[in-house]
């Protein structure tokens, strides 16, 4: 399963080890971990709650992984995204890509993050001293995703 949406935390080292297990043709593993920061737009963040669209979220992530496989010569890709209420220092998302050479895994990993940020139905709500608020989509994320089209 290249895609998982879950409440539980994930173990980066174990996920990487599992993805490349037994494939001696892999020469490169690029990975990314997104983490809850204690500060967003100048305000202290106490908690961050992630909502998603069950069914569509998994489907869109699988489509994004399928696109990455078409565009780059990679062996495997994994996306794990948490939902529910998290706090600063908690892991949110993991993307891992394996390939023969580093260029492909780096590019595919960045592509997966950029597309996930702009196309997968997740929404963040954060609690700050000012109260709870939905996080706004960032124009810079759209720009990052547009690089690939």
């Amino acid at each position: 399963m290249p895609v998982r949406v879950q409440h539980e935390d994930f173990d980066v080292g174990a996920e990487i080890a599992k993805l490349r297990e037994g494939n001696p043709a892999i020469g490169a593993v690029a990975s990314f971990v997104g983490i809850v920061r204690d500060l967003n737009e100048g305000d202290a963040v106490a908690t961050l709650t992630l909502e998603h669209y069950p069914g569509m979220t998994e489907k869109s992530l699988e489509e994004i992984v399928a696109q990455a496989r078409q565009r780059w010569d990679i062996y495997d890709a994994l996306v794990v995204h948490r939902v529910g209420t998290l706090k600063p220092l908690d892991q949110i998302v993991l993307v891992v890509v394996t390939s023969a050479h580093r260029g492909e895994s780096f590019e595919a990993c960045e592509f997966l993050m950029d597309y996930l940020k702009t196309r997968a139905p997740f929404w963040k709500k954060e609690v700050t001293p000012e109260g709870a608020r939905w996080v706004d989509a960032r124009a810079s994320d759209d720009a990052a995703a547009d690089r690939w089209s």
Binding site: S60, P121, W123
Partner: protein, 93 residues
């Protein structure tokens, strides 16, 4: 249009995140009114409820729509039986 066809033209409508909160519900069944055969027309029907519906789904609001879990456009056709979701721009990752 025959009476029994009209009866079956219902859609399941979902609302997420800021929209779910503002509209006060996450899900409802809607019997498509006559002439409502696109995503845009359905949004117009919802806006006609007034109040938060008019405000949240109004012009200038960044609202995304998915039909059967695929991103859709105002002109995407619907005919009953679909799952239609309205939500704000996504912010995961």
């Amino acid at each position: 249009m025959k009476a029994n066809e009209t009866q079956t033209a219902t859609v399941k409508v979902l609302y997420f995140a800021r929209l779910r909160e503002a509209l006060g519900k996450g899900e409802e069944e809607i019997v498509l009114p006559e002439g409502v055969d696109t995503v845009g027309a359905l949004a117009g029907f919802l806006r006609s409820r007034g109040g938060a519906w008019a405000a949240e789904l109004g012009v200038g609001k960044a609202v995304r729509v998915a039909v059967n879990q695929d991103m859709a456009a105002p002109e995407t056709r619907i005919s009953g039986g679909e799952e239609i979701a309205f939500f704000p721009p996504v912010t995961g990752g």
